[in-house]
């Protein structure tokens, strides 16, 4: 019994791990889907882009706007919309006032995922976004003469990156200086 225990332990632990993994996965998936479903039905005017995509894939000839309109009216039921198209009734043209509630990705290929998350900051000005506050505070006259080089390309990856960043910073700072001068002139 005692020498059996370790050999029993590892496989059973593994099994437990695998089983609990799948259970959790199922649990969260179910959770997510039911939550999503109720959200869609509850608000009524939210069309799940995935559903629109689904239908657009089945019937590429359809206009996404029409699909969204139909989905919105039947409460987000893919089956109903599919049925409607298959029976040959076709989809109604939405009224011109209809605004697609979601921005649809143009094709069935989702956008590339980003490896490097940008510093997310909405409603942030460009100076703080690009950490230019130090440069922005410095006297405007001193950095005036340098002209951003018009054409710049380097064989070196880091160098290129640096040039691009410099062009960006220059552009922002120049605009800022100009704006400051203008507002001073107005006062």
């Amino acid at each position: 019994m005692t020498d059996e225990e370790p050999s029993l332990n590892i496989p059973s632990l593994l099994t437990l791990a695998v089983v609990s993994y799948f259970v959790l996965r199922w649990f969260f998936n179910r959770d997510e889907s039911s939550a999503g479903g109720s959200r869609g039905r509850g608000r009524g005017n939210v069309v799940d882009p995935a559903q629109v995509e689904q239908i657009a894939q089945m019937f590429p000839q359809l206009n996404t706007r029409d699909i969204m309109w139909d989905l919105q009216r039947n409460g987000g039921s893919v089956a109903a919309t599919t049925e409607r198209v298959l029976t040959g009734r076709g989809l109604e043209t939405p009224p011109p006032s209809f605004q697609p509630p979601v921005a649809i990705p143009p094709t069935n290929i989702p956008l590339a995922q980003t490896a490097t998350p940008v510093q997310k900051a909405d409603a942030q000005d460009l100076i703080s976004r690009y950490n230019l506050s130090a440069k922005a505070e410095s006297p405007a006259t001193e950095s005036e003469p340098e002209k951003p080089s018009k054409s710049s390309w380097s064989q070196n990856k880091e160098e290129r990156q640096r040039i691009l960043q410099k062009r960006r910073d220059d552009m922002i700072l120049a605009a800022r200086r100009k704006m400051m001068q203008k507002s001073q002139g107005n006062v």
Partner: protein, 167 residues
């Protein structure tokens, strides 16, 4: 040949925009490790309330670029404009593939095609800033203000521009 068509093409565009940049436009990948995620700066067109401003936007490219268009979203300070969603997403015909037409007014010829480019998109966005398309607004509030209370709209845009530059 090792990298995908999209990466190579984006690299070409990057080089082109760096060596021969159009007036008032700076654009390039945030990091060359991910060519599918760019950041662009565009200058506000002259003789518009956007004049003097600089606007940052991120461009995200699909894997099958240039078959499908990228998406463009203004970041940082919001852009108060009838054709820009409140979250910054730009709604302009060149960013829509000819297949779907969320806005009925668009001619197929104005929309995305694989021969369009980042440069053309950014130039289109610049002219969009100058001349909003009123027919199918993305920002209804802004459109209303633009239509009915133009001075107020222009003042708000000017304030946003200043705020964007940290002034």
């Amino acid at each position: 040949m090792a990298s995908s068509v999209a990466q190579k093409r984006l690299f070409h565009e990057y080089k082109n925009l760096s060596t021969n940049p159009p007036e008032g436009i700076t654009a390039g990948p945030i990091s060359e490790d991910d060519m599918f995620h760019w950041e662009a700066l565009i200058q506000g067109p002259e003789e518009t309330p956007f004049e003097g401003g600089v606007f940052a936007a991120e461009l995200k490219f699909p894997r099958d670029y240039p078959l499908s268009p990228p998406t463009m979203k203004f970041i940082g300070g919001g852009v108060w404009h009838p054709n820009v969603y409140p979250n910054g997403t730009v709604c302009i015909s060149i960013l829509h593939p000819p297949g779907d037409d969320p806005n009925h007014y668009e001619h197929a010829s104005e929309r995305w095609s694989p021969i369009q480019s980042v440069e053309k998109i950014l130039i289109s966005v610049m002219s969009m800033l100058a001349e909003p398309n009123d027919e199918s607004p993305a920002n209804v509030e802004a459109a209303k203000m633009w239509r009915e209370r133009r001075p107020e709209y222009e003042q708000k845009v000017r304030d946003e521009v200043k705020k964007g530059l940290g002034l």
